[in-house]
Amino acid sequence: MTLLRAYPTAWRTRYGDELAALLEELDESGRMTWHARLDVVRAGVFERVRLGGLPPRERAREGTLLVVYAWMLFVLAGFGLQKASEHWAAATPANHRGLPTAAFDTLVGAAGIGSALVLLGVALSLPTLLAFVRRGGRREVHKPIVRAVAISVLLVGATAALAAWAHELTPAARNGHDHLYSGAFVAWILFFAACLFAWAAAAATTARRLAFSDRLLRLESILAAAVCASMAVMTAATAVWWGVLASTVPSFVSPAAPNIVVPTSLMLAATLLGLLGVTCTRRAAFPSP
Protein backbone atom coordinates (compact mmCIF):
# COMPACT_ATOMS: atom_id res chain seq x y z
CA MET A 1 0.00 0.00 0.00
CA THR A 2 1.46 3.32 -1.15
CA LEU A 3 0.57 5.24 2.03
CA LEU A 4 2.69 2.92 4.14
CA ARG A 5 5.82 4.02 2.29
CA ALA A 6 5.77 7.09 4.53
CA TYR A 7 6.88 4.83 7.41
CA PRO A 8 10.45 3.67 8.06
CA THR A 9 11.20 0.07 7.04
CA ALA A 10 11.71 -1.18 10.60
CA TRP A 11 8.31 0.19 11.65
CA ARG A 12 6.60 -1.27 8.56
CA THR A 13 8.13 -4.67 9.27
CA ARG A 14 6.46 -4.72 12.68
CA TYR A 15 3.14 -2.93 12.12
CA GLY A 16 2.82 -2.61 8.33
CA ASP A 17 0.57 -5.65 7.77
CA GLU A 18 -1.78 -4.71 10.60
CA LEU A 19 -2.07 -1.10 9.49
CA ALA A 20 -2.63 -2.19 5.87
CA ALA A 21 -5.42 -4.52 7.05
CA LEU A 22 -6.98 -1.67 9.05
CA LEU A 23 -6.83 0.67 6.05
CA GLU A 24 -8.53 -1.97 3.88
CA GLU A 25 -11.29 -2.39 6.49
CA LEU A 26 -11.78 1.39 6.62
CA ASP A 27 -11.89 1.48 2.84
CA GLU A 28 -14.49 -1.32 2.64
CA SER A 29 -16.66 0.35 5.27
CA GLY A 30 -16.48 3.70 3.44
CA ARG A 31 -14.62 5.35 6.32
CA MET A 32 -11.35 5.95 4.47
CA THR A 33 -11.52 9.74 4.28
CA TRP A 34 -8.84 12.17 3.08
CA HIS A 35 -8.35 13.07 6.72
CA ALA A 36 -7.54 9.42 7.48
CA ARG A 37 -5.10 9.24 4.55
CA LEU A 38 -3.33 12.42 5.68
CA ASP A 39 -3.21 11.05 9.21
CA VAL A 40 -1.33 7.97 7.97
CA VAL A 41 1.20 10.07 6.03
CA ARG A 42 1.70 12.47 8.95
CA ALA A 43 2.20 9.61 11.41
CA GLY A 44 4.58 7.88 8.96
CA VAL A 45 6.75 10.99 8.60
CA PHE A 46 6.71 11.40 12.39
CA GLU A 47 7.93 7.79 12.81
CA ARG A 48 10.69 8.45 10.29
CA VAL A 49 11.83 11.52 12.19
CA ARG A 50 11.88 9.70 15.54
CA LEU A 51 13.48 6.56 14.02
CA GLY A 52 10.36 4.62 15.00
CA GLY A 53 10.34 0.84 14.94
CA LEU A 54 14.02 0.52 15.81
CA PRO A 55 15.06 -1.18 19.05
CA PRO A 56 16.42 1.29 21.67
CA ARG A 57 20.08 0.34 21.06
CA GLU A 58 19.72 0.88 17.31
CA ARG A 59 17.95 4.18 17.85
CA ALA A 60 20.79 5.33 20.11
CA ARG A 61 23.29 4.34 17.42
CA GLU A 62 21.32 5.97 14.58
CA GLY A 63 20.76 9.11 16.66
CA THR A 64 24.52 9.38 17.25
CA LEU A 65 25.19 8.88 13.53
CA LEU A 66 22.73 11.66 12.76
CA VAL A 67 24.88 13.93 14.95
CA VAL A 68 27.95 12.80 12.96
CA TYR A 69 26.22 13.83 9.72
CA ALA A 70 25.18 17.11 11.34
CA TRP A 71 28.80 17.72 12.37
CA MET A 72 29.96 17.14 8.79
CA LEU A 73 27.40 19.67 7.56
CA PHE A 74 28.63 22.05 10.23
CA VAL A 75 32.26 21.62 9.16
CA LEU A 76 31.25 22.48 5.62
CA ALA A 77 29.45 25.61 6.85
CA GLY A 78 32.45 26.44 9.01
CA PHE A 79 34.78 26.50 6.01
CA GLY A 80 32.37 28.82 4.20
CA LEU A 81 32.19 31.13 7.20
CA GLN A 82 35.96 31.08 7.63
CA LYS A 83 36.34 32.32 4.06
CA ALA A 84 33.65 35.02 4.51
CA SER A 85 35.14 36.25 7.78
CA GLU A 86 38.65 36.90 6.47
CA HIS A 87 39.91 40.40 7.38
CA TRP A 88 36.80 41.28 9.43
CA ALA A 89 38.89 42.64 12.31
CA ALA A 90 40.86 44.95 10.02
CA ALA A 91 37.61 46.30 8.57
CA THR A 92 36.12 47.01 12.01
CA PRO A 93 36.98 50.20 13.95
CA ALA A 94 38.93 49.34 17.11
CA ASN A 95 36.24 50.79 19.43
CA HIS A 96 33.61 48.41 17.94
CA ARG A 97 35.65 45.20 18.05
CA GLY A 98 34.83 44.15 21.65
CA LEU A 99 31.62 42.16 21.26
CA PRO A 100 32.32 40.71 17.80
CA THR A 101 35.78 39.64 18.99
CA ALA A 102 34.23 37.90 22.00
CA ALA A 103 31.63 36.22 19.76
CA PHE A 104 34.26 35.17 17.22
CA ASP A 105 36.56 33.82 19.96
CA THR A 106 33.60 31.88 21.39
CA LEU A 107 32.95 30.48 17.91
CA VAL A 108 36.58 29.39 17.51
CA GLY A 109 36.74 27.98 21.06
CA ALA A 110 33.51 25.98 20.61
CA ALA A 111 34.81 24.70 17.26
CA GLY A 112 37.95 23.45 19.02
CA ILE A 113 35.92 21.78 21.78
CA GLY A 114 33.50 20.23 19.28
CA SER A 115 36.36 18.86 17.17
CA ALA A 116 38.06 17.43 20.27
CA LEU A 117 34.79 15.74 21.31
CA VAL A 118 34.35 14.20 17.84
CA LEU A 119 37.94 12.90 17.94
CA LEU A 120 37.33 11.52 21.44
CA GLY A 121 34.25 9.71 20.16
CA VAL A 122 36.28 8.19 17.33
CA ALA A 123 39.10 7.25 19.74
CA LEU A 124 36.68 5.56 22.15
CA SER A 125 35.27 3.40 19.36
CA LEU A 126 38.73 2.37 18.06
CA PRO A 127 39.09 -0.82 20.20
CA THR A 128 35.66 -2.01 18.98
CA LEU A 129 36.67 -1.12 15.41
CA LEU A 130 39.95 -3.05 15.72
CA ALA A 131 38.11 -6.10 17.08
CA PHE A 132 35.73 -5.85 14.09
CA VAL A 133 38.64 -5.67 11.63
CA ARG A 134 40.39 -8.63 13.34
CA ARG A 135 37.23 -10.69 12.89
CA GLY A 136 37.45 -10.05 9.15
CA GLY A 137 34.84 -7.30 9.03
CA ARG A 138 36.95 -5.19 6.68
CA ARG A 139 35.37 -6.87 3.67
CA GLU A 140 31.89 -5.70 4.79
CA VAL A 141 32.88 -2.01 4.75
CA HIS A 142 35.42 -2.16 1.93
CA LYS A 143 33.23 -0.46 -0.69
CA PRO A 144 32.27 2.81 1.08
CA ILE A 145 35.81 3.24 2.44
CA VAL A 146 37.39 2.77 -0.99
CA ARG A 147 34.87 5.27 -2.40
CA ALA A 148 35.76 7.83 0.30
CA VAL A 149 39.51 7.33 -0.26
CA ALA A 150 39.10 7.72 -4.05
CA ILE A 151 37.13 10.97 -3.62
CA SER A 152 39.75 12.23 -1.15
CA VAL A 153 42.59 11.54 -3.61
CA LEU A 154 40.71 13.38 -6.35
CA LEU A 155 40.01 16.24 -3.95
CA VAL A 156 43.72 16.60 -3.15
CA GLY A 157 44.43 16.84 -6.87
CA ALA A 158 41.63 19.36 -7.41
CA THR A 159 42.83 21.43 -4.43
CA ALA A 160 46.39 21.53 -5.77
CA ALA A 161 45.16 22.59 -9.22
CA LEU A 162 42.88 25.29 -7.77
CA ALA A 163 45.67 26.59 -5.51
CA ALA A 164 48.06 26.82 -8.47
CA TRP A 165 45.41 28.69 -10.45
CA ALA A 166 44.68 31.05 -7.54
CA HIS A 167 48.40 31.80 -7.25
CA GLU A 168 48.34 33.22 -10.79
CA LEU A 169 45.36 35.51 -10.09
CA THR A 170 45.11 38.93 -8.46
CA PRO A 171 43.29 39.15 -5.08
CA ALA A 172 40.34 40.84 -6.84
CA ALA A 173 40.09 38.05 -9.41
CA ARG A 174 40.24 35.46 -6.60
CA ASN A 175 37.39 37.23 -4.79
CA GLY A 176 34.71 37.18 -7.45
CA HIS A 177 35.98 39.16 -10.42
CA ASP A 178 37.08 36.07 -12.38
CA HIS A 179 33.82 34.21 -13.02
CA LEU A 180 35.54 31.10 -14.32
CA TYR A 181 37.62 30.84 -11.14
CA SER A 182 34.53 31.53 -8.99
CA GLY A 183 32.70 28.69 -10.77
CA ALA A 184 35.64 26.37 -10.22
CA PHE A 185 35.74 27.38 -6.55
CA VAL A 186 32.03 26.55 -6.12
CA ALA A 187 32.65 23.19 -7.83
CA TRP A 188 35.53 22.57 -5.42
CA ILE A 189 33.25 23.33 -2.45
CA LEU A 190 30.71 20.78 -3.76
CA PHE A 191 33.52 18.28 -4.24
CA PHE A 192 34.72 18.96 -0.71
CA ALA A 193 31.16 18.41 0.56
CA ALA A 194 30.97 15.11 -1.37
CA CYS A 195 34.25 14.04 0.24
CA LEU A 196 33.03 14.89 3.76
CA PHE A 197 29.78 12.99 3.25
CA ALA A 198 31.55 10.02 1.66
CA TRP A 199 33.59 9.71 4.86
CA ALA A 200 30.48 10.21 7.00
CA ALA A 201 28.72 7.45 5.03
CA ALA A 202 31.75 5.17 5.41
CA ALA A 203 31.79 5.87 9.15
CA ALA A 204 28.04 5.19 9.39
CA THR A 205 28.29 1.91 7.45
CA THR A 206 31.13 0.79 9.72
CA ALA A 207 29.49 1.96 12.95
CA ARG A 208 26.30 0.03 12.10
CA ARG A 209 28.36 -3.18 12.10
CA LEU A 210 30.28 -2.58 15.32
CA ALA A 211 29.24 -4.39 18.49
CA PHE A 212 29.27 -1.43 20.88
CA SER A 213 28.81 -2.24 24.56
CA ASP A 214 25.90 -0.55 26.35
CA ARG A 215 28.39 1.58 28.31
CA LEU A 216 30.19 2.74 25.17
CA LEU A 217 26.91 3.47 23.41
CA ARG A 218 25.85 5.59 26.38
CA LEU A 219 29.18 7.40 26.37
CA GLU A 220 28.92 8.08 22.64
CA SER A 221 25.38 9.40 23.20
CA ILE A 222 26.67 11.82 25.84
CA LEU A 223 29.46 12.95 23.51
CA ALA A 224 26.91 13.42 20.70
CA ALA A 225 24.86 15.68 22.99
CA ALA A 226 27.98 17.67 23.89
CA VAL A 227 28.94 18.03 20.21
CA CYS A 228 25.44 19.25 19.48
CA ALA A 229 25.72 21.78 22.33
CA SER A 230 28.98 23.06 20.80
CA MET A 231 27.18 23.45 17.45
CA ALA A 232 24.40 25.44 19.13
CA VAL A 233 26.98 27.71 20.84
CA MET A 234 28.80 28.27 17.51
CA THR A 235 25.56 29.09 15.72
CA ALA A 236 24.56 31.57 18.43
CA ALA A 237 28.06 33.12 18.46
CA THR A 238 27.97 33.48 14.67
CA ALA A 239 24.58 35.18 14.83
CA VAL A 240 25.89 37.64 17.44
CA TRP A 241 29.11 38.25 15.49
CA TRP A 242 27.21 38.81 12.26
CA GLY A 243 24.52 40.95 13.89
CA VAL A 244 27.01 43.31 15.56
CA LEU A 245 29.12 43.64 12.40
CA ALA A 246 26.03 44.30 10.28
CA SER A 247 25.12 47.25 12.51
CA THR A 248 28.62 48.65 13.02
CA VAL A 249 30.45 47.86 9.74
CA PRO A 250 27.72 47.43 7.08
CA SER A 251 30.34 48.17 4.40
CA PHE A 252 32.08 44.89 5.33
CA VAL A 253 28.95 42.77 5.75
CA SER A 254 26.80 43.93 2.80
CA PRO A 255 29.02 42.72 -0.09
CA ALA A 256 29.69 39.46 1.74
CA ALA A 257 26.08 38.89 2.88
CA PRO A 258 25.38 35.77 0.75
CA ASN A 259 28.73 34.31 1.86
CA ILE A 260 27.64 34.72 5.46
CA VAL A 261 23.93 33.92 5.16
CA VAL A 262 24.50 30.57 3.42
CA PRO A 263 27.01 29.18 5.97
CA THR A 264 24.98 30.52 8.91
CA SER A 265 21.81 28.88 7.55
CA LEU A 266 23.74 25.64 7.08
CA MET A 267 25.00 25.89 10.67
CA LEU A 268 21.45 26.36 11.92
CA ALA A 269 20.21 23.41 9.82
CA ALA A 270 23.07 21.25 11.08
CA THR A 271 22.33 22.21 14.69
CA LEU A 272 18.65 21.29 14.27
CA LEU A 273 19.63 17.98 12.64
CA GLY A 274 22.02 17.33 15.53
CA LEU A 275 19.26 18.14 18.05
CA LEU A 276 17.00 15.63 16.33
CA GLY A 277 19.73 13.01 16.61
CA VAL A 278 20.32 13.82 20.27
CA THR A 279 16.57 13.57 20.98
CA CYS A 280 16.47 10.08 19.44
CA THR A 281 19.63 9.11 21.29
CA ARG A 282 18.49 10.38 24.68
CA ARG A 283 15.09 8.70 24.42
CA ALA A 284 16.71 5.39 23.48
CA ALA A 285 19.75 5.36 25.76
CA PHE A 286 18.06 6.99 28.74
CA PRO A 287 14.42 5.84 28.60
CA SER A 288 12.06 7.36 31.12
CA PRO A 289 11.27 4.95 33.97
Binding site: W11, R14, Y15, D17, E18, L19, A20, A21, L22, L23, E25, L26, H35, A36, L38, D39, V40, V41, R42, A43, G44, F46, E47, G52, G53
Partner: protein
Protein backbone atom coordinates in the same frame (compact mmCIF):
# COMPACT_ATOMS: atom_id res chain seq x y z
CA UNK B 1 -2.55 12.75 30.16
CA UNK B 2 -5.83 14.20 28.89
CA UNK B 3 -9.03 12.23 28.63
CA UNK B 4 -8.91 12.36 24.82
CA UNK B 5 -5.23 11.36 24.51
CA UNK B 6 -5.00 8.37 22.16
CA UNK B 7 -3.06 6.27 24.73
CA UNK B 8 -5.74 6.85 27.39
CA UNK B 9 -8.50 6.01 24.92
CA UNK B 10 -6.72 2.83 23.80
CA UNK B 11 -6.02 1.67 27.37
CA UNK B 12 -9.65 2.38 28.31
CA UNK B 13 -10.89 0.44 25.31
CA UNK B 14 -8.65 -2.53 26.08
CA UNK B 15 -9.88 -2.55 29.68
CA UNK B 16 -13.01 -4.35 28.37
CA UNK B 17 -10.93 -7.03 26.60
CA UNK B 18 -8.42 -7.57 23.76
CA UNK B 19 -9.13 -5.83 20.44
CA UNK B 20 -7.46 -5.36 17.08
CA UNK B 21 -7.03 -2.01 15.29
CA UNK B 22 -10.42 -1.68 13.61
CA UNK B 23 -12.33 -2.84 16.70
CA UNK B 24 -10.39 -0.29 18.77
CA UNK B 25 -11.36 2.53 16.41
CA UNK B 26 -15.05 1.60 16.52
CA UNK B 27 -15.08 1.15 20.30
CA UNK B 28 -13.32 4.46 20.96
CA UNK B 29 -15.70 6.27 18.64
CA UNK B 30 -18.63 4.72 20.48
CA UNK B 31 -17.63 5.43 24.10
CA UNK B 32 -15.71 8.69 23.63
CA UNK B 33 -17.11 10.12 20.41
CA UNK B 34 -13.54 10.49 19.14
CA UNK B 35 -12.66 9.27 15.65
CA UNK B 36 -8.92 8.46 15.80
CA UNK B 37 -6.97 8.45 12.55
CA UNK B 38 -5.40 5.09 11.62
CA UNK B 39 -1.88 6.56 11.76
CA UNK B 40 -2.53 8.12 15.16
CA UNK B 41 -3.94 4.81 16.43
CA UNK B 42 -0.96 2.73 15.37
CA UNK B 43 1.54 5.39 16.51
CA UNK B 44 -0.01 5.19 19.98
CA UNK B 45 -0.17 1.38 19.88
CA UNK B 46 3.56 1.22 19.02
CA UNK B 47 4.49 3.51 21.91
CA UNK B 48 2.21 1.74 24.40
CA UNK B 49 3.69 -1.60 23.37
CA UNK B 50 7.25 -0.23 23.64
CA UNK B 51 6.46 0.93 27.20
CA UNK B 52 5.02 -2.48 28.09
CA UNK B 53 1.54 -1.08 28.81
CA UNK B 54 -0.12 -3.29 26.20
CA UNK B 55 0.96 -6.52 24.51
CA UNK B 56 0.19 -8.16 21.19
CA UNK B 57 -1.61 -11.49 21.08
CA UNK B 58 -0.94 -14.03 18.31
CA UNK B 59 -2.04 -12.69 14.93
CA UNK B 60 -5.24 -13.89 13.34
CA UNK B 61 -4.69 -13.39 9.63
CA UNK B 62 -3.19 -9.96 9.10
CA UNK B 63 -4.75 -8.43 12.19
CA UNK B 64 -3.30 -8.73 15.66
CA UNK B 65 -5.30 -8.15 18.83
CA UNK B 66 -3.78 -6.25 21.75
CA UNK B 67 -4.47 -6.60 25.44
CA UNK B 68 -3.80 -4.57 28.56
CA UNK B 69 -0.80 -5.64 30.70
CA UNK B 70 -0.57 -5.29 34.49
CA UNK B 71 1.57 -2.09 34.19
CA UNK B 72 -0.92 -0.82 31.59
CA UNK B 73 -3.79 -1.43 33.99
CA UNK B 74 -1.94 0.39 36.79
CA UNK B 75 -1.13 3.29 34.45
CA UNK B 76 -4.77 3.61 33.38
CA UNK B 77 -5.94 3.46 36.99
CA UNK B 78 -3.54 6.25 37.97
CA UNK B 79 -4.58 8.39 34.99
CA UNK B 80 -8.27 7.90 35.71
CA UNK B 81 -7.70 8.81 39.39
CA UNK B 82 -6.04 12.07 38.27
CA UNK B 83 -8.89 12.82 35.89
CA UNK B 84 -11.45 11.92 38.58
CA UNK B 85 -9.84 14.39 41.00
CA UNK B 86 -10.16 17.14 38.39
CA UNK B 87 -13.76 16.17 37.62
CA UNK B 88 -14.68 16.16 41.35
CA UNK B 89 -12.99 19.49 42.00
CA UNK B 90 -14.49 21.06 38.89
CA UNK B 91 -17.96 19.80 39.77
CA UNK B 92 -17.73 21.11 43.33
CA UNK B 93 -16.54 24.54 42.19
CA UNK B 94 -19.22 24.74 39.53
CA UNK B 95 -21.93 23.87 42.07
CA UNK B 96 -20.63 26.56 44.43
CA UNK B 97 -20.60 29.11 41.60
CA UNK B 98 -24.18 28.24 40.58
CA UNK B 99 -25.37 28.46 44.20
CA UNK B 100 -23.72 31.86 44.77
Amino acid sequence: MRENDPPVLILTSLASGPKHGYALLLDIEEFAGVRLGPGTLYGAIARLEARGLIEALPASGRTRPYRLTAPGSASLESTLAELRAIVDEGTARLRAWVAA
